[in-house]
């Protein structure tokens, strides 16, 4: 009975369209990359900034746009449509924090917004810090040139 059930499920679930999904992810992700490069060049041209500062400001700009798009409720459909093209760039990180904060709003500012903001994005920071600490320690102790 159980086997029948999973057999029926497998037969009836739509196979993901690999090609369509990858193409959309490629185009959306690539466009965000080009947009970032354009912003960075624009900031260098307008404000005479160093490349590193312009890149930081470029990331902040993309984060701001994502937070606003999440607030207006348009990011969800964009994310649904573009899959990894939307969640692999920094847009996904900003969206996960903004949407977690928005959802927590009903529980109040402290326990809702404050406590649940890192509910989804927390794992990215934890994994990043743990791996960077281990790799940094190995490199510093054994491969210091």
């Amino acid at each position: 009975m159980k086997k029948d059930y999973s057999g029926t499920i497998n037969k009836n679930t739509a196979k993901p369209s690999y090609f369509r999904n990858c193409l959309v992810a490629f185009i959306v992700g690539g466009t965000i990359g080009v947009f970032g490069q354009g912003l960075s060049d624009l900031y260098i041209y307008l404000f005479n900034m160093a490349r590193n500062d312009a890149n930081s400001l470029m990331l902040v700009t993309i984060i701001l746009l994502t937070a606003l798009a999440t607030g207006f409720g348009v990011f969800d459909s964009f994310g649904q449509f573009s899959g990894a093209g939307a969640f692999v760039p920094i847009t996904g990180f900003a969206n996960s924090m903004t949407s977690a904060a928005l959802e927590g709003r009903s529980e109040g500012v402290t326990l809702g917004i404050g406590a649940s903001m890192f509910k989804l994005a927390g794992s990215v920071i934890v994994f990043g810090v743990v791996s960077a600490y281990i790799l940094g320690a190995i490199r510093f102790l054994f491969f210091q040139s």
């Binding site: 992700g29 990359g33 969800d76 990215v124």
Partner: protein
């Protein structure tokens, strides 16, 4: 030319993420977490800097650059002050992005009402 490189590199990183979603049924949370680790690993062999020189924002915008920036800041500070610098410099390059995300997420959550 850097615009074409940016498009291709950012696009390909997203395609890898999409394949992991479709084939291995991983959630976005798993993929972004492991991509950050991947970025840190690539940076510990100094490979990620070459990718940034090649593709500019195409390598900076994907979440892999978060791991790279964490390790980069940590190592830069460690060279200055020794082992304790790994902790001191960890967030030095990513601070502006994390601060911005917290501020904007907070303001948006205060101002907007959740939908859907």
């Amino acid at each position: 030319m850097i615009y074409l490189n940016a498009f291709i590199v950012a696009g390909l990183i997203c395609v890898i993420g999409q394949l992991l979603v479709d084939i291995f049924k991983l959630t976005p949370g798993h993929i972004t977490s492991w991509f950050v680790v991947l970025g840190a690993i690539l940076d510990s062999f100094d490979l990620y800097d070459n990718l940034i020189r090649f593709a500019g924002a195409g390598a900076l915008v994907p979440i892999t650059s978060f791991g790279h920036s964490l390790l980069h800041g940590a190592l830069a500070k460690a060279e200055e002050v020794g082992f304790i610098g790994i902790g001191m410099g960890m967030f030095s390059l990513t601070a502006s992005g994390i601060t911005a995300t917290i501020i904007f997420a907070f303001l948006v959550a205060i101002i907007f009402k959740p939908r859907g």
